[in-house]
């Protein structure tokens, strides 16, 4: 799952979160719904963590924090209440880093839910996970990414929605989603680690679907088929709306005098039109293709260098997804893939793999789980960047099965073409029933200029984290 984060790191380098006005309104709406029944009893629970994250190398990007140790504070508070006719749940999440200044405050959940045995309705913000693979989840598209989190985590931002679930029996579950409000990722500050090589100007974000980029729809059907000694889970999904990851285009960004607003707008409009007229398979990097196809005035502007930077462009996409998970004996086989229709091309992205579990290995009570996956993606340079174009993933996890829940996980991802690689070691254990300790070490090794992972080459880190649950 951590690999997914890397994909997004390569693609957007988003760090901080802006809670959109819409989602705040939505949260307030749900909270108002809950208020009259507050007296009926609200359950509170949460966690608080402190981590020291050490970067042994200076950041490679201009302005990035140097080598040294960040103190990261993280907290989560959940309030839930059963109203009798439905449930309300509110979950707030926050995180801050004392050295890079990166911070996140997010309403992960703020929903009201009700229903009967055949249909359920959820109104408000929620986090929805789609996918079966460990390295990357191409089907997982409902929520925006929050990437400042540790690499192996897959943290998302809450997405306001109206969600209907129909339990059909023999056809499984059919879920419909109306996604209200598009949440842009925050690209962070110059000091943020890790981050993308460029910092797109999100105040100049452009949308493929100009008029309706903040209402998206999705549908998913999940079901299980049982055989005599095996079972198959499948899910088919469809998403239509604004892509969560932007394409990063050259253009007028962070405007300053003497560039006028009118010039800036004209340049970006031309950039946008040029991008939309490009065909897949063009030579060179996307920025070069856009510059070559732009009007002479825009070309002159880009060469001028004043107020020249990058802007995010959010495509309007359609995406069909398929997820399969087949369990037989100690084996678990997985496939997850998408066909995406975006910006004049359609492409495939997918991952195939297996997991095998050895029980009571080494003469003890521990379990060893090994997993291997292969990820492939045939998108052109017109699309948001992915690390997972032709990559092999492997992981080994040892669960001690002791009262402390101690586990050690070692995993690696390697690009077949560029040899860019990421290695991750995690050791976690409970200290008491309400406290845990985690140690994470991440090593990134990538030097190929064509591999987006190379941007992270200096971002190896070691992290020690203590968490308290209440």
């Amino acid at each position: 799952m951590w690999g997914h984060e890397i994909a997004k790191l390569g693609g957007t380098m988003s760090t901080k979160t802006k809670t959109s006005v819409r989602s705040a309104i939505f949260g307030a709406f749900v909270a108002a719904l809950a208020a009259p029944v507050a007296a009926q009893g609200i359950e509170f629970k949460g966690e608080l963590s402190f981590a020291a994250r050490h970067f042994p190398h200076d950041g490679a990007q201009p302005g990035q924090a140097t080598s040294g140790t960040s103190l990261i504070t993280e907290g989560r508070l959940v309030a839930s209440s059963d109203l009798g006719f439905g449930q309300v749940e509110i979950e707030l999440y926050g995180r801050g880093d004392n050295r890079t200044g990166s911070e996140v405050i997010d309403i992960q959940k703020a929903y009201f839910q009700t229903g009967n045995d055949f249909v359920s309705v959820l109104v408000g913000s929620d986090v929805v996970f789609w996918g079966v693979a460990e390295s990357v989840n191409p089907t997982n598209i409902i929520n925006q990414n929050d990437l400042f989190s540790r690499i192996e985590e897959e943290r998302k931002l809450g997405q306001p929605m109206v969600n209907l679930n129909f339990e059909t029996g023999v056809m499984g579950t059919v879920s419909l989603y109306g996604l209200i409000g598009f949440r842009e990722p925050d690209f962070g500050d110059a000091s943020t680690r890790p981050r993308f090589a460029v910092l797109p100007d999100d105040s100049r974000a452009m949308f493929d679907d100009v008029n309706n980029h903040d209402f998206d729809i999705a549908i998913r059907n999940t079901n299980t088929i049982s055989f005599s000694s095996a079972s198959l889970d499948y899910a088919v999904s469809y998403f239509q709306g604004t892509n969560r990851n932007p394409v990063v285009l050259p253009g007028c960004a962070n405007r300053a005098a003497p560039v006028t607003e009118a010039t800036c707008t004209a340049v970006n409009t031309d950039i946008r039109n040029t991008y939309e007229s490009l065909a897949a398979g063009g030579p060179g990097a996307l920025a070069a293709q856009v510059a070559a196809g732009a009007t002479p005035a825009t070309q002159a502007f880009l060469l001028g260098g004043t107020s020249v930077g990058t802007v995010p462009y959010y495509q309007d996409i359609q995406q069909v997804g398929l997820e399969l998970a087949y369990a037989s004996g100690d084996w678990l086989w997985k496939f997850e893939g998408i066909r995406r229709y975006a910006s004049g091309e359609d492409f495939f992205g997918g991952v195939f793999g297996a997991e095998y579990r050895f029980n009571n290995v080494f003469g003890g009570s521990g379990d060893l789980t090994i997993a291997g996956e292969y990820a492939y993606d045939d998108r052109s340079s017109l699309q948001p960047i992915t690390v997972f174009d032709d990559d092999v993933f492997a992981s080994v996890r040892y669960d001690f099965n002791n009262p402390y829940g101690t586990a050690i996980t070692l995993s690696g991802l390697r690009d077949v073409n560029t040899d860019g690689s990421v290695y991750n070691l995690e050791v976690s254990s409970r200290l008491t029933d309400s406290t845990t300790v985690n140690f994470t070490a991440t090593h990134i090794n990538s030097s190929s200029p064509t591999d987006p992972l190379t941007v992270l080459n200096n971002d190896d880190f070691y992290e020690l984290k203590f968490s308290y649950f209440f």
């Binding site: 055949f118 579950t173 005599s228 369990a327 100690d330 084996w331 009571n360 099965n401 649950f469």
Partner: protein, 263 residues
């Protein structure tokens, strides 16, 4: 329906009481007793219950686990569906395990991980692993379906728990298991499992489980309120206390789907 069940099992008992005169083999008798224990437990419909585990190390240190479970019996398909949701310790709070148990077939299992909202399919082989670090394995926690074992009757003797006379059976698992065999004591008065001895794959006595504090619900279903598992090799033990049994909650199969697990 329930009356018919009682009548049928009553008739079965009468017929079987005459059984030994046909020189029933130890295997046939073992299978019959295990089936009767199944029948005594079948037809509960659905129930919810709270579990509390106290883990004790050989040195006396303790650690607690709290969870609640809901179970639905689907009689037509002879299937049982269970959701087990953790309340404590904090790091696994709201983690939930969905199990579909089929008679004579491998189970299907899913784990819900609340931190990422993910429902993950897991292999049935995890059954032999420890249940959250306790002396119970996952397979010790599921319902005792007789069709999952081959049984041999060993004799009759006093129940080790002091609950009167017991049948003593040896059972060997038909599916993948962490055990080579188990010895079970089932009481003659109500066909309740009283004691189970677990032998590891090398044939060594590993653990002993004692089930006590049986109470009768909805007029005929017996459930233990206390289960103590002792590990003879490590000298550790786990006490599992069940409380708040509620039957006939009107649970529906749609509450036991992958999607429902994440709600």
């Amino acid at each position: 329906m329930r009356f018919v069940d009682v009548l049928v099992s009553g008739l079965t008992c009468v017929m079987l009481a005459a059984g030994p005169s046909y020189a029933e083999t130890a295997q046939a008798k073992g299978e019959r007793i295990a089936r009767q224990a199944d029948n005594a437990d079948d037809g509960f419909g659905d129930f919810i219950v709270n579990g509390e585990m106290i883990l004790r190390t050989s040195g006396g240190a303790t650690s607690k686990r709290r969870f609640d479970t809901k179970t639905l019996e689907e009689r037509a398909a002879s299937t049982q569906k269970t959701v087990l949701k953790f309340e404590w310790p904090g790091d696994i709070r709201d983690t939930a395990l969905l199990t579909h148990t089929f008679s004579g077939r491998e189970d299907s299992q899913w784990l819900y991980l609340p931190s990422v909202g993910r429902v993950k399919k897991i292999t049935g082989s995890g059954r032999s692993g420890s249940f959250v670090g306790s002396e119970f394995a996952y397979e010790d926690m599921v319902e005792q379906e007789s069709t999952n074992y081959k049984h041999v009757w060993e004799g009759d003797e006093r129940c080790p728990t002091g609950a009167g006379e017991c049948y003593k059976l040896t059972r060997t698992p038909r599916h993948s298991s962490g055990y080579s065999r188990q010895v079970v004591w089932i009481d003659k008065s109500a066909f309740r499992y009283q004691t189970i001895q677990y032998y590891d794959r090398r044939g060594q006595l590993l653990k002993t489980l004692k089930l006590t504090g049986y109470k009768k619900y909805i007029g005929r279903i017996w459930r233990p309120s206390k289960m103590v598992m002792k590990n003879h090799l490590t000298k550790k033990s786990t006490t599992l206390n069940w409380s708040g049994y509620k039957f006939n909650n009107g649970l529906s199969p749609t509450q036991f789907t992958r999607n429902a697990l994440s709600r």
